[in-house]
Symmetry: C2
Subunit: 320 residues, 2 copies
């Protein structure tokens, strides 16, 4: 915030007092507090900042496209983006899309109309070519593994991360392995499926379609998966679960139904949410806030197109 | 989305085909798909929508002020706001404040500068008078129990909700009761403290300051609380925990340390997050997404100032 000196001068108080008042510090005399707020009003200092923004041709707003706002994977990405925005004096235009393409286009159009300085796609349904066409209007940053010399990508190598999970299970003697996923068609999901297929091929096992559980987003979905698993004639002995919340649902329902984990069913999660730590879930830790933070940095200044994979890490606990 | 007919006409395809392409439906010929995207580009139809917005003097953007973007309480409020925004064709300007007043003022200033149509304060540090001064520029909606004829409030009666928790504990024979809270100074927190003090007074017990655990936001904070509790010479036999995540941390740590719940320590949570259901936590269910939804409705059309408390509900499970 600029102009703190002007406020202090007009209010006839010290800069430190202005700072205390703006941050609602308790020990400031009511009289001084009023003087500061009055000066703030008179100076309309925020407008000055906006004028600076305009003169630089910037909005200091970044658009963020995400399918679901209250889902741990996207919440943690958004957390990283929001922390970086806060530190850099930017605001976020957040668009929840439910994977509807028209909502995604609205975000791109804000870039064209200079309502935002850049757009981050945490996930998408729109065709890649559309993103590229809008790139002319400003930075478009994705959080998926796409090598295109026009669009920056900050991502996790989901192929390798999934592969790491499969390797652990195979190493522990599992051959009948299924997995849980949010949706099949995203590019991250496709990479995960390829890793699944390739790892099974390595041990000479076929892909069993009914062992792939879709629409797995929340804890309740894990409950459903465990019940379906229990009712299967031929069931997998291990599951790669691409989301800790779903893994937690599976584990808590297993406990309730007397299914011992990992003896009857091994489960490996993803993300390393606090819940995974609490329930001692073996998981692949993904640096989601850091992805968000770096995607933000790229969205505000995309001078050079980059493709950057951030490292994941296997955290072994009790469920494999 | 308007103009779907114009797109269809220009692309020489049916309206249904346009819809399928926009929603990324798989079974559309590549040729038609290209024609549709080409027409979309040519028509710049989003710009037309913006022109409509401008002619109505509206931005179709609502500002949302929240202290932490990735905290379950605020995530669930934001979920309700975002769902309503999506359904009504609005975007959200989200400002994470960490309770810094200058960030909150930025949101109010966007209202003054007509960059947003209204502002929702999910929580705040700014003095009430400042919110009132900006009310002249458009709707300001708060999610706390404040009776002011200039500002609409959609809220939970935190006094009564906390009281309900205390009553349950007292009814089960507890007299030494503590509580966990995020911060002490917000107006919702003050109401909770009043309920705490009043209920203790009813049974003739004093307020014991060291049984009030502050900075309780995440699961790790619950772990810390349980450890502090265990090391106390004189410890409470029950805790009102204003957040299920923290309650979960307490319960999981208690299990680890062999503290039996509710026998040695009764715990009542708040919110009824999926985690509370999974861990069988007795909790006060708060209708947070609905608060968010109704706050949004009020922010877009605040013709009449309203003060509306939404109902909470005690959910008895295994921890009291």
């Amino acid at each position: 915030m600029s102009n703190i000196r002007d406020i202090a001068k007009l209010a006839q108080v010290s800069v430190a007092t202005v700072s205390r008042v703006l941050n609602n510090h308790p020990y400031v005399k009511e009289e001084k507090r009023k003087a500061v707020w009055h000066a703030v009003q008179q100076l309309d200092y925020q407008q000055n900042i906006n004028a600076v923004h305009l003169s630089k041709g910037k909005t200091f707003v970044i658009g963020v496209v995400l399918p679901y706002i209250n889902h741990p994977y996207f919440s943690r990405l958004l957390e990283g983006i929001a922390d970086a925005a806060e530190a850099n004096g930017y605001k976020l235009m957040v668009i929840q899309t439910n994977y509807q393409v028209d909502k995604e286009l609205e975000a791109l159009d804000m870039l064209r109309l200079k309502q935002v300085d850049g757009v981050i796609f945490t996930s998408r349904s729109s065709p890649w070519n559309i993103l590229k066409e809008y790139r002319a209007y400003g930075p478009v940053v994705v959080c998926e593994n796409k090598m295109d010399n026009q669009i920056s990508a900050i991502y996790i190598d989901h192929y390798r991360a999934f592969q790491r999970g499969m390797e652990l299970l195979i190493q522990k003697g599992h051959r009948k392995i299924g997995y849980c996923i949010g949706r099949r068609k995203g590019s991250n999901s496709q990479k995960r499926h390829e890793a699944y297929r390739d790892q099974l091929a390595e041990i000479g096992e076929p892909v069993t379609e009914k062992w792939i559980f879709e629409q797995c987003l929340h804890m309740e979905d894990g409950v459903r998966v465990l019940r379906e698993w229990r009712d299967m004639k031929e069931a997998p002995t291990a599951l790669v679960v691409t989301n800790d919340l779903v893994a937690a649902g599976i584990i808590l329902e297993a406990e309730k139904l007397g299914v011992s984990i990992p003896e009857s069913l091994a489960v490996i999660g993803f993300d390393d949410q606090p819940l995974a730590k609490a329930l001692r879930i073996t998981t692949i830790r993904l640096p989601l806030p850091r992805i968000g933070k770096e995607a933000f940095q790229q969205a505000i200044q995309d001078l050079q197109i980059i493709h950057k994979a951030l490292p994941f890490e296997l955290v072994e606990r009790k469920t494999v």
